[in-house]
Symmetry: C2
Subunit: 314 residues, 2 copies
């Protein structure tokens, strides 16, 4: 049997994909075993469990599993980097079951400086799914540490990290701004007000408007329970405002989205207030990126890819 086991192994979660010989996803499993939350037995035990019952296939991983705190450190490569370049820097380790795990490097951007691990593989997978975007495209990967990326000629050429998700979590859990807020409820109006406040903050930026959440609440103009949604809008709005202020990312064509559907829907709502076009998000981009790299380095044989889905073939 041919195929690949792809592992998207981050800080807080582990996702495993079983891909067939044509690069199609046959099964997906998710565990809360990020590299900082491993089960007893560590990396080996996590891998054995999440692949239980699957065939013995080549295994390729991306994400924080390749960091200094991961299973095997794979040094960052500098941008620009394409599939072949990332493939050439893959490193391998022999696991307790006698097979190898191969790990994709992360990327480093000297401008910033900045780093990513895992998103480079998602971007390459997304390009395989949408080859028209290979020459020049701009991407948003929302999350704890959101990434904005520019692709040119199939290579990740530039990127920037915005800590939107982590800042929101810190403010939600610990700030005086949310001291009187109960459980978050979806509130499109409060979210939109936050987005607009960020958009209209000009070059001062939305962090100069953060305290308005408290002043509006004291004014009776924002319900205490609506403060988290207002802050979510303010922070996502600031991510859009600040990234668009740089001209590093094109927005004369739709910006591409990769990630969780609920979070991506928030970004699309926010983008509406910026007259910005965000494409429908892509899912399972990491699996497709791992497949591309596996083909490139010969982990899976090219003649096995008798696929019906050209975009995902080797």
């Amino acid at each position: 049997m041919s195929g690949l086991i792809g592992l998207d192994w981050g800080t807080s979660s582990l996702r495993a994909y079983w891909l067939d010989g044509a690069g199609e996803i046959r099964e997906t499993r998710t565990r809360a075993w990020g590299i900082r939350h491993l089960p007893d037995g560590g990396f080996d035990a996590a891998l054995t469990d999440i692949t239980a019952g699957w065939p013995r296939l080549p295994r390729l991983a991306c994400g924080m599993v390749g960091s200094r705190q991961g299973w095997l450190e794979v040094p960052y490569m500098d941008v620009p980097a394409d599939t072949a370049q990332l493939g050439s820097a893959v490193r391998s380790l022999r696991t307790k079951d006698g097979l190898d795990v191969h790990i994709v490097p992360g990327l480093r951007n000297p401008q910033g400086p900045d780093v990513m691990r895992g998103e480079e593989t998602q971007l390459l997978g997304a390009l395989a799914l949408r080859p028209a975007l290979i020459p020049d495209s701009s991407w948003i990967l929302p999350g704890t540490h959101s990434k904005w990326a520019r692709v040119r000629d199939g290579a990740v050429a530039d990127f920037c990290t915005l800590m939107t998700g982590e800042l929101f979590a810190l403010l939600r859990q610990h700030s005086i701004l949310c001291a009187g807020s109960g459980d978050a409820a979806v509130d499109h109006d409060a979210f939109a007000r936050g987005v607009i406040a960020a958009r209209d903050s000009g070059s001062a930026g939305a962090f100069s408007r953060l305290f308005s959440a408290r002043a509006l609440m004291l004014d009776g103009a924002l319900a205490p329970d609506a403060v988290p949604e207002y802050l979510s809008g303010l922070l996502i709005g600031e991510e859009l405002r600040s990234s668009l202020a740089t001209n590093r990312f094109r927005h004369d064509a739709p910006l591409q989205l990769i990630g969780d559907a609920v979070l991506c829907a928030r970004y699309r709502l926010a983008a509406f207030h910026f007259d910005l076009d965000l494409a429908e998000p892509l899912v399972d981009a990491a699996a497709h990126g791992l497949w591309q790299i596996a083909c490139d380095i010969g982990l899976v044989s090219a003649n096995s890819s008798t696929t019906s889905k050209e975009s995902s073939s080797c």
Copy 2:
């Protein structure tokens, strides 16, 4: 005996001043009894303890003690507001010892919106100490919630809150950025690098550079223990960058500082990288502001102010 007991009563601390009949400070006491950390017996017990042994004098308070969570809510006044206007809105309550405590209102800025409690009194006290600044001056009051304020014709005309101190505390204690950092040590070089990164972040703003703390650390270009100082510089630098971007605050004359000496010294270091002139900080401004308001509303008699220090007289 004439004189005043002035109380600067905030969220996390209480400071009491005994002023003589000429408005000079005779004694100052500080307790950790902010309105959220009161001793057994609450406000009455805190007041009795901190004024123990002092003469029975009129008592005037400012700060969060006048908030909804305070001893008596004194509604915010809208800017612009001067000493007479703040004095006219003072409210009073009878305490268990049979005397009154009078409480100064906070200020609300419809632009923002924004609010302050306590800083308005510090500003009026500072103007009494530096009357040349009464016509038009700009002020920074660094802290958990830093305030930038514009004074015109002796009235607080405009202000803005930057949550610099609270954001730094959140990042220091909870963010992944500081996960590998030990106890903070003063590191002028790391601080300056943060300030410069913020200054050079342009209209994108320094929050788009936050993750550089991690990338620099991974690069070996920033020691893990230096990350907090880098972040302190980045956040104070962003406060300067974003406030100067608005043109709401004049900087063709030195900006005035009120507050804690150590924190103000950080702001002066940061200002150096912006070619910005920050004056020596004023201390005990709240005491002088409370004295001004007490004179205005007749809590202390004008003929008692046979002061040698004209600037602080009624």
